[in-house]
Symmetry: C2
Subunit: 349 residues, 2 copies
DNA sequence: CTGAAAGCGCTAACAT
DNA sequence: ATGTTAGCGCTTTCAG
């Protein structure tokens, strides 16, 4: 690429942009046909040690990086798994990703991540983008999607695994937990421990269906015992730990007779716990607390917050196994979260 | 695709795998040539309103999703930016990603993320994978790479932006802060506040060069005042908050006369802070504390840990701007982290 | 404003 | 064990 006179005023070009190398270059440099070079580079078919060595040497020397775009087009095969999640700052999703990656390791499949920020429209858009690269599978969070997104998933002709949640109807395979059941189970444990005036603190995100389902299940669990939520408080945005403090202070100021607070996630629960301890509130005697997720962070708190493990890494692993084509089992895999009472629920009466 | 007799024994196929639709299908359905359909779908060139409408209608009705693999091969253009980072569970990197995404929004470029787990070999491998998709730019963390990785970056013929760290020599553009300077600055602030017996607590990760550089700068800063580190403690893996507690307890048991603890990140610093408060230690009178990063989490703690903002989102935004081809400025952009004294350094004497 | 032809860089399928 | 041929589905280029 020669520089035109117009180039004069411009800053130095980022780099001389040489035409990227092709198989042909390696072929010429090694004196082996393109086809055989291709075979060597992909470890496919029988190639004699001699030619293999010559080809690899030439490829290395030239710094050849194969063009997968061409390869994928020719072979009609793409080693990519689209993974679509609501957020990366939630800590939960990186853990799921970890599970997916570890399981995909060595299968030749590579996860590619897209983030929706809990917006269904954005999810649709991200899905469209990713499908346009013709991945060999899709893993996405939740069962709620726009009609167009569902349609795309149905007609994509590839394995689809919806994760995190089993309360609803999936497109293809589903791996997750029942958040409704988790909420109910927590309610039962709380009631069994003798708490009666119970408040809920959570996010104000209409699109966080899992949090919503937990709350619904929780309310059902209370209803079974003839109880109902005594008060509730919602937030959005900001430092979750700080919000947890503020909300806890607010709800306790408004309803001082509450004897239990159920948080929609561990982070705000941790904030609430810190506030209670500072305020000199007897936890779990005077006031019980519980969160959800079972995040690592909890281990470092002054007291262990009661929580429920969401099986994050395991969900990722199972989903990866299914999308990779192994695992011929049922279409719906329901994992069972375990209640971790910690130190913030008093022992059952 | 008809089912062969061999299909009998297999579980129901995941889905009837229809040949994905092509431009030709849309062309036939709309009675418009492939070429014009292509133009409509890409908003390129002039197309009459009538044909445009007919094409869009047909595409929508069929559920056509373009094949970017073919498109990219034909146009020699890929709208992808490779982003390579060490970890997703660090909280720091999702924030950088946020900056990158927000800046790329609307430019037609899409970030694609690869994770190295702080392994140079893995980084090389991920880079190779990503370059094989011929992205139009690369953003990657740090200045330290394997020789092969450097070579690939140099010959890729695309913009390369190395982020987070400016202490060293980059391949192309660099956006970050000087961790060495950050460490030194913190040391100076601590010394100015009158602390003299200073300990360091950090990760045991040989490949975390930024943490290492901070420590080096910190030691230099102390040396300028005729001081040196009185003790140090390292960890790896596990819940950072908990590790912070444990390490703090350990180092204070071993060196009870320490009057300041410098942590390599806020998370372990927060753990240390919680431990100190519980242990009834006067912070910052008897013992001062400081971390690094300026994470959101700190806002919810009982006391605000002293820290230094690492300019994470800004780094992401600047890097994205450069890799996108805007910003013709200098090759190295050094951002300036700001010391946030919080409540854990006593006022300077 | 619309269409026809050529080919992007690679691999499947078939020779040899 | 190695080479040849014919596309993959799209976009570029040039012609109407």
């Amino acid at each position: 690429m020669t520089r035109s006179p117009a180039d004069h005023g411009r800053p130095t070009p980022r780099s001389a942009k040489p035409r990227p190398l092709t198989l042909r270059d390696v072929s010429e440099a090694s004196g082996v046909s393109e086809m055989t070079v291709s075979r060597v580079l992909r470890n496919r078919g029988d190639v004699s040690e001699g030619t293999r060595a010559r080809v690899l040497e030439a490829a290395r020397r030239l710094g050849y990086v194969p063009n997968r775009i061409a390869g994928a087009l020719a072979s009609q095969r793409v080693n990519l798994i689209a993974v679509i999640i609501p957020s990366l700052s939630n800590l939960v999703f990186p853990e799921v990703l970890g599970g997916i990656s570890s399981e995909l390791e060595g299968t030749g499949l590579t996860p590619v991540v897209g983030v929706t920020n809990y917006s269904p429209a954005r999810e649709e858009q991200v899905l469209y983008e990713m499908l346009s690269w013709r991945p060999s599978g899709v893993i996405l969070a939740g069962l709620e999607h726009t009609p167009a997104a569902r349609a795309m998933l149905l007609s994509a002709g590839i394995p689809v695994v919806e994760i995190m949640d089993v309360d609803g109807t999936g497109v293809d395979s589903v791996v997750g937990i029942s958040h409704r059941r988790a909420g109910r189970q927590m309610a039962q444990a709380i009631v069994a421990a003798g708490y009666r005036r119970i408040g809920f603190l959570g996010t104000k995100m209409p699109e966080d269906h899992r949090s919503r389902k937990r709350l619904e299940g929780f309310a059902e669990g209370l209803a079974e015992a003839g109880l109902q939520l005594a008060d509730r408080e919602f937030y959005s945005g900001g430092s979750a730990l700080k919000k947890g403090r503020e909300m806890t202070e607010a709800i306790m100021a408004r309803s001082p007779d509450l004897d239990f607070l159920y948080y929609s996630n561990d982070m705000i629960g941790a904030g609430g716990l810190l506030w209670c301890l500072e305020a000199g509130i007897d936890v779990p005697g005077r006031l019980g607390l519980a969160g959800f997720n079972g995040v690592d962070l909890l281990e470092g708190l002054p007291r262990r917050l009661a929580t429920m493990d969401a099986c994050r890494a395991e969900i990722g692993r199972r989903a990866a196994r299914i999308v990779g084509g192994h695992e011929t089992g049922p279409k719906v895999v329901e994992l069972t979260p375990v209640l971790q009472p910690g130190d913030t629920i008093r022992p059952s009466a």
